[in-house]
């Protein structure tokens, strides 16, 4: 319907048939990709929701602990206590390929002497509540990083699924029907041309036959005339 501007030739027909085959194959592959991505995505999203709820709850506890700590200490003292961290965190990022989507995998190393010795301050000038708060935050941190990983994965996968879905739909509802329509059009046009040629040939044959028949009849008539003029001439007179 849309592109009736195709030239109805056999070459174009072959080309379009090839195009249709490719489109159908691509459509099938993309559809499979979409389905698999969707499966993975929904799994990831379920994980994200659960983890996020958990992390948010734990973080609120941590915030609460910090609030208590800051109530017991002056804000200057607290700032001073946390000013220079003893531990430093470094993150290495590798990639995992899920159905051609690169999703990050985080891995972190802490540079500290021991796991229990993360407090960057002396215990004399700070309250015990601060220790609790920092400790709790350290525990949440692993989950927080995991959350970052899967939430980013979910976002990236959502984008890819959207793209793939559009492609699948474009192929399914535009590209393939249009090509099929064009092929049908060319087929019909070619058949029509065939019929026209046959009819034309029949007509030409008819005309030639009629002509030769006429010629023959004329020749016969002439011969008969000549013959009769010679043989029965006197009888007529």
């Amino acid at each position: 319907m849309a592109n009736i501007t195709v030239s109805p030739t056999r070459m174009e027909l072959t080309r379009l048939k090839g195009k249709l085959r490719t489109a159908q194959r691509g459509h099938k592959l993309l559809k499979d990709k979409r389905d698999e991505l969707m499966k993975q995505f929904l799994e990831t999203v379920r994980e994200v929701r659960a983890l996020r709820a958990e992390v948010e709850e734990e973080l609120m506890t941590v915030h609460g602990a910090f609030t208590v700590a800051s109530a017991l200490m002056s804000s200057e003292a607290m700032e001073q206590a946390l000013l220079y961290p003893k531990q430093s965190v470094e993150l290495t990022m590798t990639f995992q390929n899920i159905m051609s989507v690169n999703v990050p995998v985080y891995d972190f190393q802490t540079q500290t002497r021991s796991d229990s010795d993360i407090y960057p301050y002396g215990f004399a000038a700070t309250s015990g509540e601060l220790d609790t708060a920092v400790d709790a935050l350290g525990k949440v941190f692993r989950k927080l990083l995991k959350l970052a990983e899967i939430e980013k994965s979910a976002q990236l996968m959502a984008e890819e699924i959207e793209k793939t879905r559009r492609r699948v739909n474009a192929l399914e509802y535009v590209m393939i029907p249009n090509t099929q329509e064009a092929i049908r059009y060319i087929n019909m046009k070619l058949d029509e041309n065939d019929r026209a040629t046959t009819i034309r040939l029949m007509k030409v044959k008819d005309m030639i036959l009629k002509e030769s028949l006429e010629e023959k009849r004329e020749a016969t008539a002439k011969a008969v005339k000549a013959f009769s003029g010679q043989g029965e001439g006197p009888a007529e007179v």
């Binding site: 999203v45 948010e56 700032e79 961290p85 531990q87 470094e90 290495t92 941190f141 939430e151």
Partner: protein, 105 residues
């Protein structure tokens, strides 16, 4: 691949100071405009994960969606000290809607 990246936390001072003790890079900011600048700066540098408090995130939708489809940095919303606003949860919902075309969960 063995490059190391940094983890940053952006938010009001009270919400992010705890992260400082863990060795994260903390950037206490006062308002969303300042946070936007900071995120842009960090995205150019070698920062892989940014934790941002929801209190700030609610006023900077544009910057967050700008980095949503990029591999790095991952901007993850965390509740600030004032409590969760549910933006993080909403974002998951939006991702689902985007992928599926409808809210199915």
């Amino acid at each position: 691949m063995a490059m190391t990246y940094q983890i940053a936390a952006i938010g009001d001072w009270e919400s992010v100071m705890g992260f400082r003790a863990l060795g994260l890079d903390t950037y206490p900011v006062a308002d969303a405009a300042e946070a936007k600048e900071k995120i842009k700066e960090l995205a150019k540098g070698n920062c892989a994960v940014i934790y941002l408090t929801e209190q700030l995130a609610k006023d900077m939708e544009d910057v967050i969606s700008r980095y949503k489809d990029e591999l790095r940095p991952a901007i993850i919303l965390i509740p600030g000290r004032q409590g969760s606003l549910g933006i993080g949860k909403n974002n998951i919902q939006r991702a689902i809607e985007r992928a599926v075309g409808a809210d199915i969960l």
